[in-house]
Symmetry: C2
Subunit: 726 residues, 2 copies
């Protein structure tokens, strides 16, 4: 289980080199028998074959009491018997042997291990116990463990494949590092990137249950690695959520895009993830907030992951991209023009009209076919006359309304090769890209079918990535635009993370209203004038001092829903009404909640009219306190229209939360109401996030309901609130 | 432009045989010169080559004054000179010659034509005029035209490829008919279906601008065609929307799934569609309603289209499918189990827990790995021990909680062939499918990469379709489930289409309130007691008769927003208040709307408390009057939470509209309110749809705002309404 106790301490990062780039390895589980009882090559032998095939420069030894050598490597009866120091042991043995072996390896001075076996936290009690021993070893002795329940680590430039799966020939080295909790998906993704997208890899890590090294640690290693420029992850659960936030911010600061496909968004898939890697998946909306606030490129499918890695790792394309969501589209199919426009619109890209200048020039340069607009339909003419395509392409490159040029290219049309026309267009695209200062990308109509390497590879070399399908391509360009917007805001948004002093220890249970209101005011959240009265006289004096109309509310730690027991009186307009209400409230609650201990009655100035919102803080199992906001009433209760943020929140981040609400337009003034004070609302959210950080683990939950957002310039005011301390 | 005037007349369908299955064809635009100036084969020659290559059994002649024969076919100087009757001419000539040639063909007794050339309604005024001549020919003389701006018609079983694009060798005949407005996409989709999915085709039609034959007519032809069992379309705009509804209902009645990818959902893509095929795309939400009400399988991408055609055309699979949304998932990758669960959940499928019986049997039958649940992770064990996979598969087939079994199979893993493991699993799946009475489908992790025909084709023969990617596969099964649900409801939902008598001609403009309210009552929509008063006395008498409290509203055809000019007074509780209000309303509106002609004041009984909704009718350019419903206030104004239905609407369809509203739960009773009378609301919607049908083209628009939905059992009541006649 994960806790958020490391939230307040600055993270120290372990050096993963003994695991990721070991000078020497020892394989336990290799044999002179090259086929197992199941007629399969033993995993240990496969690792040795991988190491040799990949040209591993370090020392390889085996551990097996039966032999003196295995596959031409020296073999020793036990780890302690190996004469030279060993950086990393690789365990291809049944799970029941793993804990003892790792402990003896640590005793022998080994610093890291890769454990392939399944049967740990993802299974029953026995497995969980086994995993606990590995976690102790990692935590207490700094022993680095990849796995268990994984395929291991493949460091491409270090030529160190501590990897259980067969490595295909023609492995493509490149700038993308991949970490996947799933072993199967690690190779599926890696192979698809290399073969379908022409993207080379710097590392593949299948990290399994993360009993030792976590995805956060691998991300950090990749950020520091000079061969890696883009980081991709398939993750089911985060073990060190606060390190995730830190490492994601670090990746953004170094401009290394961190692209994550997070599995386990639904209840069933959370069950599946727990079964698969013993991971706690976390609430999807909180993970989304964490990604958004730290600039993680969040993708929703394997194909989106691949296209994102493809585009972010295409250097020339990225260099030419200056931000913006306006795409130009060139296709020989009018139908595809329609479809890509639909796809662009649904993900939030624009397909703007071309400038008048471009339209005029096109009309002059090219014969009269169709309308010259964006999307630009080359029609059959583009196939019949080879002068046309380059002119259309150049027109989009030169047009001032276009940020990214996209070309629909049938590189993976399933037609037999002799019918393909993609190649002559790809040559024209390469030529245009050579002199273009604008990014150009290609996309296919249908996802699937063979990708022609003769089209793919030269285009990629020219800085033109190839994406599959209009939907995925437009989503990917939108993701790129969002990343760019995040980076721009990150640089202008001044450092907001001024440290928040932790609050002193406060009593547990529901905080009394007066104390709660004082605390809000301390953190700069305005509250309506509120006083506790213990008699009708005190109440009427307090009311007169704060000004009428007022409300009276019964004060008792035993009553959470005051209006349910007749404990609320509103709109009292003079002293006698206050006195009457005081007695009525005591009578009524005495009758309806006879066992509640009553501390008195709270007198509150009635707030002016405005938009009623709800702010809150709840505890997330991964990230600790998270801030919520939504509109009071139907929108939050029926439509669950709630935005989530992880403290600390800057004013800009608070603003983004508010804008994400589906009812956002309400704050602009609807149905004859004036615009609301959105700035003050953002201030209250940011201040609430500081308050949540300060209270930290003490805080069980908090609700401000309602917070009245007054007309622009008049601020906000909290009317009712509940703070529950642990 | 399309009109909805054919709404009330029963459609007569033209016989498309002379176009789709001609006994003889004449090609205009073929030549003895086999390459054009642009070094390309002339289209006319390509058609002759296609006809001969495909074994066309009819007579082929050419028309060209220069030759006596072309490609071994007799050639005549003009159409009139051909001695035998010709069913269909094929025009591969510049667009300017087309209208004259078609008219002379019609004069010569030819009954159909295929026109490839572009340059008609999709371009400027000259093109629109050219197209108008073709439309006249079609409409007035019944001349059948495919195109212009298309690739033509390919009738596979009739061996009649009147088709401009090269037809690849190894064309696969089968049950799927395809019509696409886009020529490029027609071949892209067809080739992908054949090569990536193993789906055979009965027809390919690229219908272009639909100047003559429309997609509705092709659909009808396919429904009547005995070789076709599944119909697929890529459509940008419907030319005969009311025939669409009729033909879609006919397809549903014959149980031939009609699968449509409708382009032009966004503003930009509507512009693109207009440019591409001169089509009016129509409002996306109205098209969605039309599809939903008639059982069209609506897909959103080319890949969804392909997977839908693949699954619906896989006979054994469909025979075994008995409805239901519960899928069982078997994968060797735990990561994929997580992802497919996320995908299933997001499209509305269930991944239920297995029965205790299955779990127990699995524990006994298979070694202890992971938890035995759904999704079922076969882990590495499934690869190591070949007995395991068939047992896991059979467990899902036998489990009572599962409606459809899905297997994650790496048939299009881009790994080199020697590393593939899919084949041995596919053999096991074929074996299981042979005795299974439950549908089984396979899906790949990543969309894209080569599909191995050695896996694809035998599986398909065994009734196991292959889909690409978890997202697309789950969407497709959801589409299948929805189609099944539609068919079940269609059979139980009694015929609701009792003919509605058209209303007599009513005056244009805003209908007076009393008349409007009488009309609502005539159609069974309850209204609050409402009387027009012309004096304060009349008003107070009327109020006393209907009972207090009442509201007064100024009555004037010149005032649309009465409260804006002080023309409304609410909650009047006795006769003197009514008298005072009467004078005040007249004074106030006289001052604020001095030029309005005042007809008096409407007296209305105040309605009881309930949920305020808005019902309305607006005119859609394609479908004529459509019915809208939504919640009053924020939900409709800010969140645009509106449901659309096309008249006539049954009670069940009205219920589905209401359930689609995001705020639907409000009607169940929230925030302490009682449940609302949903049945009465549905009745009002269905009655409003009858009223819209009856008023027909006379109706410009109609709003009931608010319609109060009272607590369950108490009905609904319209409080205010506006009817605008044309």
């Amino acid at each position: 289980m994960t806790t958020s106790t490391d939230a307040t301490t600055a993270s120290a990062w372990r050096d993963l080199s003994p695991l990721m780039n070991p000078r020497s390895v020892a394989i336990i589980g290799a044999s002179q028998r090259t086929t197992s009882a199941l007629n399969r090559e033993p995993r240990g032998n496969r690792v040795i074959r991988n190491l040799k095939g990949f040209g591993y420069p370090g020392k390889i030894v085996a551990v097996n009491p039966k032999y003196n050598e295995v596959m031409d490597c020296p073999c020793y009866p036990e780890i302690g018997a190996i004469p030279e120091p060993v950086d990393c042991v690789i365990l291809a043995v049944p799970n029941r042997h793993v804990p003892d072996l790792l402990e003896s390896a640590a005793d022998a001075g080994v610093r890291a291990a890769v454990v392939f076996s399944a049967g740990f936290a993802e299974t029953g009690a026995e497995g969980k116990e086994r995993q606990a021993r590995l976690e102790t070893l990692s935590r207490e002795r700094g022993f680095l463990i990849c796995g268990p329940n994984c395929y291991g680590v493949l460091n491409v430039y270090g030529k160190a494949p501590l990897f259980a799966s067969t490595i295909p020939p023609g492995f493509l080295a490149g700038p993308a590092a991949l970490v996947s909790q799933s072993g199967g998906l690690s190779t599926t993704i890696a192979n698809a990137l290399m073969l379908n997208r022409g993207v080379g890899l710097s590392h593949i890590v299948s990290c399994g249950n993360q009993a030792g090294a976590t995805v956060e640690e691998y991300f950090n290693y990749f950020i520091e690695d000079e061969n890696t420029r883009v980081i991709a992850g398939f993750v089911e659960g985060f073990k060190q959520p606060y390190k995730l936030l830190e490492v994601a911010r670090k990746a953004a600061a170094r401009n290394k895009p961190l692209i994550i496909l997070k599995g386990g968004r639904s209840e069933v898939s959370q069950r599946a993830a727990a079964t698969h890697s013993g991971s706690l998946a976390g609430a999807a909306e909180v993970i989304d907030a964490a990604f958004r606030q730290t600039g993680v490129v969040s993708v929703r499918s394997l194909n989106e992951l691949m296209d994102a890695v493809s585009i972010f790792s295409c250097d020339k394309f990225i260099q030419h991209y200056r931000g913006g969501r306006r795409i130009g589209v060139l296709s020989g199919s009018g139908g595809e023009c329609t479809l890509v426009s639909d796809a662009a619109s649904s993900v939030g890209l624009e397909v703007p009209e071309l400038t008048e200048k471009t339209k005029t020039e096109l009309q002059e340069a090219v014969a009269d076919f169709g309308n010259m607009n964006n999307p630009l339909d080359g029609t059959g003419a583009m196939y019949d006359d080879e002068k046309i395509f380059p002119r259309l392409l150049q027109a989009l490159i030169d047009d001032a309304h276009i940020d990214v040029v996209t070309v629909n290219l049938e590189a993976n049309d399933p037609r037999p090769k002799e019918l393909k026309s993609g190649n002559r267009f790809s040559a024209a695209i390469e030529k245009a890209a050579a002199s273009s200062k604008k990014p150009i990308a290609c996309f296919s109509s249908i996802v699937g079918g063979p990708v022609d390497p003769e089209i793919l590879l030269p285009l990629r070399a020219a800085g033109v990535p190839l994406m599959e399908g209009a939907e995925c391509a437009t989503t990917t360009i939108r993701n790129l635009a969002e990343y760019h917007e995040f980076q721009r805001n990150r640089q202008t948004d001044a450092a907001t993370e001024t440290a928040v002093a932790p609050a002193k220890k406060l009593p547990s249970g529901i905080m009394p209203a007066e104390a709660a209101f004082r605390l809000f005011e301390e953190f700069g959240i305005p509250v309506v004038p509120t006083l506790l009265a213990r008699s009708a006289d005190e109440a009427s004096v307090a009311a007169a001092r704060m000004g009428f109309p007022v409300a009276l509310k019964i004060e008792s730690a035993d009553i959470t829903h005051k209006s349910d027991v007749g404990g609320v009186a509103l709109k009292l307009s003079d002293a006698s009404e206050v006195r009457d209400a005081y007695s009525r409230l005591l009578d009524e609650t005495g009758r309806r909640a006879p066992h509640a201990k009553i501390d008195g009655v709270v007198v509150q100035r009635m707030a002016s009219d405005g938009v009623e919102m709800i702010l809150g803080v709840k505890r997330d199992p991964l990230f600790g306190p998270v801030v919520l906001c939504g509109f009071g009433g139907i929108l939050v209760e029926v439509l669950k229209d709630v935005a989530v943020g992880i403290p600390p929140l800057s004013l800009a981040e608070a603003g983004q939360m508010v804008q994400r609400l589906r009812g956002f337009a309400i704050l602009g003034g609807v149905r004859g109401k004036p615009p609301s004070d959105i700035d003050a609302l953002c201030g209250a959210i940011a201040n609430l996030s500081r308050m949540a950080s300060s209270l930290g683990d003490q805080l069980a939950g908090l609700d401000i309901n309602p917070l009245i957002v007054l007309p622009k310039g008049n601020g906000v005011v909290a009317v009712d609130a509940l703070i529950q301390m642990r």
